[in-house]
Amino acid sequence: MHELSLCESVLQLIEQQAQSAQFQQVKTVCLEIGQLSGVDAEAMRFCFDSVMRGSVADQAVLEIIDVAGQGWCPHCAQTVALQLRYDACPNCGQFPVQIKDGEQMRIKHLEVV
């Protein structure tokens, strides 16, 4: 739902980078989006082009790396796959499972000219 403002934050970070790393154009933006981050990759793609229009990242290609959700179940003392943020442990059905991976929303790298 807030993917529009996330895209605006991405652009802000790109513009800061353009100043410090001295580039004129971004060709590719690579994001890492965890399955448990609450970010919808499709909505992100939808907003991306319109937010980047007229900027240094106009026409840039958006690459999204999906990161699967992973948690640690203290009851069965093992790492488990999580589909949703507050799912019960798929092995023992208990709560809570500590989230270990899949919460991130990061800019991984930029391909720039």
Binding site: H2, L13, A21, F95, V113
Partner: protein, 248 residues
């Protein structure tokens, strides 16, 4: 390095490649930066400011229509004269809530988020500076939305999620991020419980499923039932801010 195009490839095998002369080659920049890092920096700044000024800042979040503004007006009326309070109001449009709050006599700033669905830390920081008044309590009434405000730290000491009993008891499961992020859940409009099928125990169990540490206060801003518990909670949280500041 290739002396023709400077691309970094040795081309030892004499392969041709498709560089167009006159264009600079693209390069990779490793960024590894959180998308929300800019908001988080502003939030950290706000948090320091609030702590330095001994302000307990609370971020009030809920669905639209849970009774946030009525709860705030009642809170202000009851603490008036005992504590200095200020309010930052977030709404997509209009200053209707700010006018209701302003009628109580406390200082208030309205932020209209326009197309945005949440308050962000930078706008809250500016609004707080513009308040230009000493406070004990800063209430930030976020946009009525149980999704987006969960991700945006404003620098508050605590998120307070307000759920009215006219909503479904399964809201904590449907919007887990918000109930996970909150330190306190207020079950509001409890005066209506006799007319509803709302299962209080189940609602609290759902909230604790996503956040085992969440505190719960049941009250009715309209009848006043349970209100003292909320006021006591506010005063104890503010005392914690002061003792923390003294220790720090």
């Amino acid at each position: 390095m290739c002396g023709v195009c400077g691309c970094g490839d040795s081309h030892a095998d004499q392969t041709r490649h498709s560089h167009v002369f006159g264009l600079k080659p693209a390069r990779m920049l490793q960024i590894e930066q959180d998308i929300l890092s800019s908001n988080n920096q502003f939030a950290a700044h706000n948090r320091r400011q609030f702590a330095e000024h001994g302000v307990l800042a609370l971020n009030l979040v809920s669905s639209p229509g849970s009774g946030k503004t009525t709860l705030l007006v009642e809170t202000i009326n009851r603490l008036q004269g005992q504590a200095r309070m200020a309010v930052i109001e977030g709404d997509q449009q209009t200053s209707r809530d700010a006018e209701r709050i302003g009628a109580t006599g406390v200082v208030v700033r309205q932020i209209n988020t326009g197309k945005g669905c949440h308050l962000d830390a930078e706008r809250v920081g500016h609004a707080w500076q513009a308040l230009a008044a000493q406070q004990d309590f800063l209430f930030i009434e976020n946009v009525g939305n149980l999704v987006c405000p969960a991700s945006f730290d404003l620098g508050e000491a605590c998120k307070v999620v307000i759920l009215s009993v006219t909503e479904g008891e399964d809201k904590p499961l449907k919007y887990p991020d918000m109930f996970h992020a909150a330190g306190l859940m207020i079950l509001n409009k409890t005066d209506l419980l006799p007319y509803l099928d709302f299962d209080v125990e189940r609602c609290i169990a759902y909230a604790r499923q996503v956040n085992p540490a969440i505190e719960v206060i049941m009250l009715s801003a309209r009848s006043g039932a349970g209100f003292q518990q909320w006021l006591d909670w506010l005063i104890s949280q503010r005392a914690a801010v002061l003792s923390h500041a003294a220790a720090g």
